[in-house]
Symmetry: C2
Subunit: 388 residues, 2 copies
């Protein structure tokens, strides 16, 4: 192959896969977690932090970068890698999800979507061809097709949207021209097994570099998400990377790896850090909690991250309570380390054929936040974003 992209499958353990995905900016050991750098920056962190933390791939958001500073400007400054001084692999999403969740006054038609910027209300239009041009200008290692992300439980909506998503996938594939950029297709179909299988079959014949499972973790229950992966993953081409978009929590990642997913991205570790929460093997802890006011222990006793090697919960609580930026950064460092370390443990477990035990052991210790609480938090966040 002339392509610089190569997927190596090293081992399987049940459905779980140990693999490496080779890109122009380096190899990604998978299963992998991509922290989110929405505006060409993982909030509070620098490239040297990401390297120190062992991050192997970042996600950047096309919608945000298109609006600010603009993809043409990024291109003139040498592309995303040069612009943000990150020399490792980058993936850009298509911007479609943000158009549906953030932008104002969307109007969707078969050719594309017209929307108003959430920043200044200016009018913009994304078509499959335009989104490919934007992502080629940004120059990430992996680009995504434009898709429509419907309410996962609405059958009729999903049927209509899927036809459009498939036509857009064809047009993206035809429009994409950079050979140093991989293009991944996105499987849609809500929670409906027949639609998911139809989507897999359609996209597989388009021969994408990799396949994402989209439209999950957007309102359905965990059980519905896992069931959808149970149907979708076995049908995906085994020789291509599989990416579950926007996921996730530690528990969701374990369940998805168990079902054959290789790649994840999520704002969770960075966003909850900025809310004062830290991930630990027994669940999340909230540093604002008065119980930590004089707690001399680190966030996590056996953690090797800079934050845990250096600072007490008492000091971190003080910083968070006093709204010191450094507190947000130190929690972000810990949370990204936690996710990267989790993926390392997952890979070691698959390599040694003990993934089922690892998953069971982790989930036994880890307290999952109540789903109702999480849905309410998500609803409030979307509300506050859309009212900006």
């Amino acid at each position: 192959m002339a392509t610089p992209f190569r997927f190596e499958l090293h081992a399987t353990d049940g459905q779980a896969r140990l693999s490496t995905y080779h890109t122009p900016h380096g190899a990604i050991p998978m299963p992998a977690f991509a922290p989110v750098g929405t505006l060409a920056n993982v909030k509070t962190l620098e490239p040297r932090d990401l390297h120190e933390l062992g991050v192997s791939i970042l996600l950047a958001n096309t919608y945000h970068l298109y609006l600010r500073p603009g993809h043409v400007r990024v291109q003139r400054l040498g592309g995303l890698h040069a612009f943000m001084a990150w020399d490792g692999p980058i993936l850009t999403d298509s911007g479609g999800y943000q158009v549906f969740s953030l932008a104002h006054r969307r109007h969707l038609d078969d050719d594309g979507v017209t929307f108003r910027s959430h920043i200044d209300g200016s009018v913009h239009r994304f078509t499959p061809e335009h989104v490919m041009a934007v992502q080629e200008a940004l120059g990430a290692d992996i680009a995504m097709v434009l898709d429509e992300c419907p309410e996962p439980l609405d059958r009729a909506y999903n049927e209509r949207a899927l036809a459009r998503t498939h036509r857009w996938a064809e047009r993206c594939k035809a429009a994409h021209s950079r050979t140093d950029q991989a293009l991944f297709g996105i499987v849609q179909g809500g929670i409906f097994p027949d639609l998911r299988l139809e989507s897999v079959a359609f996209l597989a014949q388009l021969d994408f570099h990799g396949y994402a499972v989209g439209g999950l973790a957007v309102g359905e229950t965990k059980e519905q998400m896992y069931a959808t992966l149970d149907v979708t993953c076995p049908a995906l081409p085994p020789d291509r990377p599989r990416y579950l978009m926007g996921v996730g929590t530690p528990e969701d990642i374990l369940e998805a790896v168990h079902r054959g997913i290789d790649l994840f991205d999520c704002v969770l570790p960075t966003r909850i850090a900025r809310n004062g929460a830290a991930l630990t093997p027994t669940g999340r802890i909230h540093l604002r909690n008065a119980a930590f006011a004089e707690d001399p222990r680190p966030i996590q006793e056996d953690c090797a991250c800079y934050t845990c090697r250096t600072f007490s919960r008492a000091y971190l609580r003080h910083l968070v309570k006093a709204r010191e930026i450094t507190g947000l950064r130190l929690l972000t460092i810990h949370n990204v380390h936690f996710m990267v370390h989790l993926m390392q443990e997952i890979r070691a477990a698959i390599a040694q054929g003990r993934f089922a035990d690892f998953r069971a052991g982790f989930l036994e210790r880890y307290t999952i936040p109540d789903q109702a609480v999480r849905h309410e938090q998500r609803r409030r966040r979307l509300q506050s974003l859309s009212s900006r």
Copy 2:
């Protein structure tokens, strides 16, 4: 001497002094600049950053730490050094200046000052003895006496205040008991030469470890400040460190070193960074400026800091415009580096007997922001703080 504090004067060049001040947490090469870590944290930075930047001493604010998280809590957590994980020298101010500039509804009497917290309105009282106890609990290497900081141009007010400041200095000296903590006296007297000389004479006989010049850079002109240093510095004991509190800008530091000052602290490099401004050898630049939108150059071409080694003005402008925390941090790194590097250059120039040339050359290239603009900025900031 049983004291762990020792002032070594290595060389003079005119009035400028090259020296080292030894403390229990290390030696401070002087002239030195102390970044401000108000709440036991230099905003956006970590101890490892401060070490990498070559910072030799920090200032922390007694008023803020007394209110939050509380000096007793800091003491129970091992003192400021352990609490914030900084193993270098620390200086705490007395809290007096913040009581006068931040706190609400102050009532001053000869015994002390009663005030309301700017955070929650709760009532507190500082006396010389109490402020000594608070600073001993915090456990910095250098503590400061409680003083009154009057309007520098008001003769009658300065006369009254000076008498009280001197009685408080005596009481602080009598109350201070930690032998691993130095205590510095503070010279007051506004812009009035006779009062300044009276203050020096009174404090010198109390035999403090070092002497600060207080009550400057608080509203008088630069010319009045320099003239006050011209009178005050030659009268100070030559074998003790001299500290100009709350100063300052690069130009003020050069003028003050020229007049014999050894130590400085100021929020300037960290505060202006969080407003999107960077220090350069030709003056401040404001990264929000549209002129930088596609500027591929670093903030400062010959700068060795991480920010300048890694990022373009265009990227930094993007981060600042998008309100990304990382942008504030990267500018803080550059600005602190700029100040530390300036002090290194000052020390080298004194050592080589060319400080006058260095000062003249620096000031010729460096554009000083208009005084009227700066006074207006300062007025607005104090107004916004006091109306919180």
